[in-house]
Amino acid sequence: MKNNLFAFLAALLLASPLLAFNTGKSILFADSYMLRAQGVEAAYWNPANLVRQKHIDFWAPGLNMGVSVANNSFDLDTYNFIVGQDYLEDADKQLILNKINGSLHTEMEAQVSLFGFTLDNMSFSSALHAMGKLALSERYLELLLYGNTDSLYVFDKGTTDAKGISYVDFTFGAGGFEIPLLPSEYPVLRTGFSVSALVGVANADLTEFYGYLQSGWDGITLHQDITLRTGFGGYGHKAMLGAACDLSQNLQLGLTLDNLWGKLTWSAVAEELQYSLVADSVYAVDIQDDFYVLRDERVAIADYATELPPEIRMAALWKDNKYSFSADYVQAFKHSAATSKVGRLSFGAQLLPLPFLPLNFGLALGNEAYPWRASYGFGLKSKGSEFGFSVQSIDSIFPGQKSKGVSFGSYIRLWI
């Protein structure tokens, strides 16, 4: 039992935020990256910045990537504390539970480039995206640590949830289209668009979860209803519209609308796992009888779609030769596996103490669904290439014992 328990907790701790990052390099700036993305990446952040260029930009397969794992409750110190104890006393248990605010959320995300290149003001690229989220009610942990000392434990989808989605995009972007006929005193307004064909790999979504455990003098009553929808193999699409303008030599503003007409339809395999367990007023003396009713069915269902709700992003970037600062604000119109209706603000900075050695910092402010995070990264840059990597600490200013998660990003970009 204990091994299973550990594996489960480890899985929880190794999952990550569903608030998708579009490309791995954005981790350097804690997601404040809309106006910093150039070349192939611009198709994912703001295609308006796909400006005409003479060189061809290459996105190396597999080397532009980002991985993030996080949870909302435990840092490394807490983990070390738990596994370092021989025996958990009541105070230790309470310490663990105090770290959890109703639900233990664990999230995971990965993005890996498959290929990409630009031609003039167009790009064509592909990337793999995978996101997963698990949430476990604090009441489960109370049960685990204390036993069934309370009379009623309710578990619902608000505190217990599971979602996962992975897909490959094939994205075409074009930009740098200047809006004509604007008054001459107005700054030049560039626009662009990208369209993505999506190939769904796998999807899992807990569509129904409700249960309760009641124990006391009237026996033990357990009701648990779970419906898990799964899909393998699908297709879909989404689009992005972007606009950007240079207000001055140093200041640029941008606006994007992402996930337009975004959805993924799961068609190859679509199933629903329907699980229901009911045991009413059970006493030990009843256990030799059929004291529970179990329904565990896997049924084929019609094709279904995972919606990718539209998301709006606004950004500003100030830069000169040695510094750049940016701020991004993003908010979706709906909650989904990849978006949040709660807006979040992030800031990024790049310093060039040496022309070939960028140092990068980012700070994303948290909200109720998204813990704050700080990013650090550096790279090397030459005339024909750049590479670098970054690390991001979640809920802690520095990555380390107090972090509740960590993200890694790397990038390699070549242009000829």
Partner: protein, 501 residues
């Protein structure tokens, strides 16, 4: 700028210096509350198919009914006392009237079928010219309806004649036969003044009538083997636990005898321990009961309704009741009645005893044993990981009497000896239950389970047996058996277990 590099270096160092301990889960303890049992022991469960019932007001009753029958009436004895000797018989014959009266004066037949009896006659000094000499009885008949006669056969001594099968008088006659008209017939007739013979007759021994019509005076019939009886059984041995305080007994008598009869006797009660009690069969005023005469095939019926002393009788919680020392006394006066030797009295008993008891301490063992199966995995957990355990009991007593409840946890099926001793292997726990007046709500009790007892719970199957013992009541208590009359027992095992590899 150097500071920035230092910052970046610090970040890297911090990241690289992160210590991630090996994933070794610590131990901890949890408390498991495991509801064990939830049972209502209804008073109405005492109701069985035989002797425990519920009346219209939900009062629990001990009830018993049954039928019994008396001995057969038997043949009616009659001793006529006829003894006449050397009566001269004239040559032309003679008529006589023989007195036919019961020596004891108890029996006056108007009609009777003779079951057994003898008559003796003698003809002496018979004249040589007499060719035939016979005695004709004008109200004794053979089975063919002919008059019964005795003929001289040449023997001058006493001869005995069996009267069995003959009958006296007419079956519908209301006229009591007090003498027997007879004729002595001589053939051929001799000249007047000639004596044909000397005649003697004796009928002074007992004659038994199989069927009788007439009058009976102070006629007593002892019912030596009683009127049978009924057996009462008590579920859960409650006869040992209670003493009845009030009861009624009805005896429905059916009299198939064609005479009014005074019924005297006693009712005997005997309990399982052999203790006996008696009450006289008299009404509440101390008078004897009279069973009315049967009319044709219809029996005369009477209800003997006992109230006064029945409680005294039933307080010993009898397992057998019967009428003993029964005597039927018939005095018909001038009224003609009928009886046959195989006529009987039938009776139906009905005992109703509302359960108003005085309680004694005695174990009432619940019949059904409860079984808890424990999986190997859970047994191993208890064996390895149990730190302590406790049994919490909650009892709601809806009865107006307190009790003690004992629950036996046994690794083998429990047994019950004839003395009510529980055979088990394990442990038992006891709690005191207050009466509903003393504590109307739930009564809780915590019972600790020591380490040795806890190991009992590692058996594959645990057998639970409940035993209740009601406390001695200060006075009579009435027990109801409605849906709200029960003892509700809930049991919860609370165990602290260590979670570990």
């Amino acid at each position: 700028m150097k500071k920035l590099y230092l910052l970046m270096m610090a970040v890297m160092v911090l990241l690289g210096a992160c210590q991630i301990k090996n994933p070794t889960l610590p131990k901890w303890d949890i408390e498991l509350d495991l509801p064990l049992v939830n049972d209502r022991f209804y008073v109405s469960d005492l109701v069985d198919s035989s002797n425990i019932a519920i009346d219209s007001t939900n009062v629990l009753l001990i009830t018993a009914n049954g039928s019994a029958e008396s001995d057969e009436f038997g043949p009616i004895p009659f001793t006529p006392g006829i003894d006449m000797g050397n009566i001269p018989v004239p040559g032309t014959g003679r008529e006589l009237f023989l007195p036919f009266v019961d020596d004891d004066g108890e029996v006056e037949p108007a009609y009777a079928e003779i079951h057994a009896g003898l008559i003796r006659t003698r003809f002496a000094n018979v004249h040589s010219s007499v060719q035939e000499l016979k005695l004709v009885f004008h109200n004794i008949f053979t089975s063919t309806g002919a008059e019964f006669s005795i003929t001289y056969t040449g023997d001058s001594g006493w001869i005995s004649v069996n009267l069995a099968g003959l009958h006296l008088g007419s079956s519908s006659s209301n006229q009591v036969i007090s003498e027997l008209p007879v004729t002595l017939v001589v053939s051929p007739a001799l000249p007047e003044g000639t004596t044909a013979a000397q005649f003697s007759i004796q009928a002074n021994s007992l004659i038994l009538f199989a069927k009788f019509r007439g009058r009976l005076h102070d006629f007593s019939l002892a019912m030596d083997s009683g009127l049978g009886g009924i057996d009462i059984s008590y579920p859960y041995g409650i006869d040992q636990a209670v003493a009845l305080q009030e009861a009624s007994l009805k005896v429905y008598l059916k009299n198939y005898i064609g005479f009014n009869a005074m019924f005297t006797g006693r009712i005997k009660a005997q309990n399982e321990a052999g203790e006996t009690r008696f009450i006289d069969i008299v009404d509440d005023n101390g008078n004897n009961y009279f069973a009315p005469a049967a009319s044709g095939a219809q029996p005369g019926e009477i209800t003997l309704d006992f109230h006064n002393n029945v409680s005294y009788l039933l307080q010993i919680m009898p397992t057998h009741l019967e009428m003993v020392d029964g005597v039927l006394t018939i005095d018909s006066g001038q009224v003609i009645g009928d009886v046959e030797m195989n006529d009987q009295l039938f009776c139906d008993y009905l005992i109703n005893a509302p359960m108003t008891f005085i309680f004694h301490q005695h174990d009432i063992i619940i019949r059904e044993e409860q079984v808890i199966n424990i999986t190997e995995e859970n047994r191993e957990r208890i064996r390895k990981n149990a730190v302590w355990a406790m049994l919490q009991l909650q009892v709601q007593n809806k009865l107006p009497i307190g009790a003690r409840a004992r629950v036996y946890f046994s690794t083998i099926p429990t047994t019950i000896s004839e003395d009510g001793i529980i055979g088990f292997e394990g442990f038992s726990e006891e709690m005191t239950i207050h009466s509903s007046q003393a504590e109307a709500g739930w009564q809780s009790q915590e019972l600790s389970i020591d380490e040795a007892e806890m190991q009992i719970l590692t058996a594959p199957t645990i057998y639970l047996r409940w035993v209740f013992s009601f406390e001695e009541s200060n006075g009579p208590v009435t027990i109801y058996a409605g849906t709200a009359d029960y003892i509700h027992v809930k049991g919860m095992m609370i165990a602290k277990l260590v979670v570990e590899d």
